[in-house]
């Protein structure tokens, strides 16, 4: 019986692929590519929508092969740094953890023609943070702050 008692607080996985970061990043973010591979063995993706920007939404619909009931996962991108980093909320509909918002972070580390993908999947430390991330609130605030700064700089010139 495996020892399941651990102080682990996030899931962290690393996987290296012999392809450049842009290939891996594209596979992870382009709907037509996601449709071809996303999901564990025995599942297929039947729909994928991606609005790839901070505050943009994604949605992936999957089902068990060949005719399982479809269920989906979706969320809001918190951070998009092309070929380097993705962070997005993750919420299932019609499956395990229904309605619970969690957070996925992916980093794409280029290493001489290969890419090390580092994935973290975690729950939010507080439900406050979870609510903010759900609406892309922090990214909206960031953009607002940036806009104000730009206005200030403009005014002082």
């Amino acid at each position: 019986m495996p020892d399941v008692i651990t102080e682990q607080h996030v899931l962290e996985l690393k996987q290296t692929y012999p392809y450049a970061p842009d290939r891996v990043f594209d596979a992870m973010t382009r709907p037509e590519q996601l449709m071809k591979w996303f999901g564990p063995a025995g599942y297929e993706t039947v729909e994928a929508e991606v609005d790839l920007r901070g505050g943009g939404r994604y949605r992936i619909v999957m089902r068990k092969v060949p005719d399982g009931a479809p269920f989906s996962v979706g969320g809001v991108y918190q951070e998009v740094v092309p070929n380097e980093r993705l962070q997005f909320t993750w919420r299932w509909n019609g499956s395990h953890d229904e309605g619970i918002e969690t957070l996925v972070t992916m980093e794409f580390h280029g290493q001489g023609g290969a890419t090390e993908l580092v994935l973290r999947h975690e729950r939010f430390p507080t439900s406050d943070m979870r609510d903010r991330h759900n609406t892309g609130w922090s990214s909206v605030l960031d953009r607002l702050a940036e806009h104000c700064n730009t206005l200030k700089q403009g005014a002082s010139q």
Partner: protein
Amino acid sequence: MVKYGERRLDHTFAALSDPTRRAMLARLRKGEATVGELAKPFRISLPAVSKHLGVLERAGLVERKRDGRTHRCRLRAAPLAEASLWIDHYRVFWEGTLERLGGFLEQTGKDQK
């Protein structure tokens, strides 16, 4: 589908989100300890230790019993087991998914040659 008691999981993960608290739990896995013994490795005050223990207690991870002028702390592992199961569920999902990504990249890599 299994429901893990979302509230309890939230409290458990909130408790686990602090490295000092994780270290305390690791220590308690080896056996009971007094508050003083738990505080020893950390350069923080006893009230700060007590505060951390309060978080752990509210999450149901630690049980405190008065023992004379001090308290003995004991690990309650059930919430940790639930947290582990939660993480493992996502581990299974992502391991399978990332493996399929490898297959896809290899396939499209070949197609481009």
